[in-house]
Amino acid sequence: MTDYRILIVEDSPTMRQLLVFALKRMKGVQIVEAQDGMDGLRKVTSDHFDLVFVDINMPVMDGLKLISLIRSDASLSAMPICIITTEGAKDDRERAIVLGANEYLTKPIQANKVLSIARDLLKLPA
């Protein structure tokens, strides 16, 4: 079975652990964690990933900056990105979509919603 590599860029250990919990229910998935935008950029440019979850509010480098840098790299322009945000942060969400994010998750997250978005972006059957 094909292994899918998913990167989670999120500064909150609680959110990272919850996302890992949800995504590990998919078979053949390898999950890598990054704790801020800079760490995420380093990992996404040095390794192959099939999907990236990016939190918007992070220290060092925020999610919007990370998305714009990912999309400006031709080799990463097609990689699906899902942002993690709060319902109130509509401006950030819209900006992220304009910058090239494909989907968004609002906090508090639901495991089945995470799975559904991941399967959708990885083009896996539901």
Binding site: S12, P13, T14, M15, Q17, L18, F21, A22, T86, E87, G88, T106, K107, P108, I109, Q110, A111, N112
Partner: protein, 277 residues
Amino acid sequence: MVGSDEKHDGTRGEELLELFARGTDLTRQLLEEAAQLRRRVVDAPSPDGSDLDVTAEEQAALCDWIAKIDELQAENRGLLEGLRAAEDRNRGWAERHAEIEERHNELANLYVASYQLHASFDPKEVVAAISEIVINLIGAEVFALYSCDTEMGSLTPVACEGRPLSSFPPIPVGVGVIGSTVAEGTRFVAPPVAAGSEDRGENDPVVVIPLYVRGSALGAIALYKLFDQKSGLSDLDRQLFDLLETHAAAALLASRLFPMSVATAGKSPSRVDRITN
């Protein structure tokens, strides 16, 4: 497992539907043929002048057709009942699947919350873990964590979100909703605001969770505003409140006691080993 059973039931349902449709077509065909046969019998000229000229063979064939129709109709009824039963089973599995998903989500949230609360003995990290649980798992937009000073009899805000810390004044224990909740040790949950009535004030908490360890108050978590997408409190929120009530208090106490224990144990290396190992 549930998915494969659902799929199996779904396939069986489709097979039954197909069988039922075939049975219906066949029955319709038979009824048309029987009607044609009847018309032929009625219209046929009678050589001896009698109204009907039906041979014994034709009568037997007609009886056979009618018996066959009855049989097929009974079979159709059976298939229809089978189809309904399969649909009911499908619905049951779908509901069970949704319940299991919900339960899985709850357990994942509770596990992560518990894990994060007890992952550190550093007071700052414990406070950060409490804040993350309240923001990310419960979905509070504005909240404050109060620490209880039993000697002074007051609650002092030590962490918050959504507003500056200075906007949360210290509260005497026993005074107001938060002070009373800590004094009584019973969680406060504000009744939902009725449509059309005035909104809750920004300083009126929606939920106050007292933090107690073995009968001693350590503080409280006051939620002032939930994220807009939250229409109310869910079962999971209440379970997280239960968890915070006991585990957050224990984690805070452990983080305060740990440096003291290490300092005391520093005089005796064997006791340091006991604490850290």
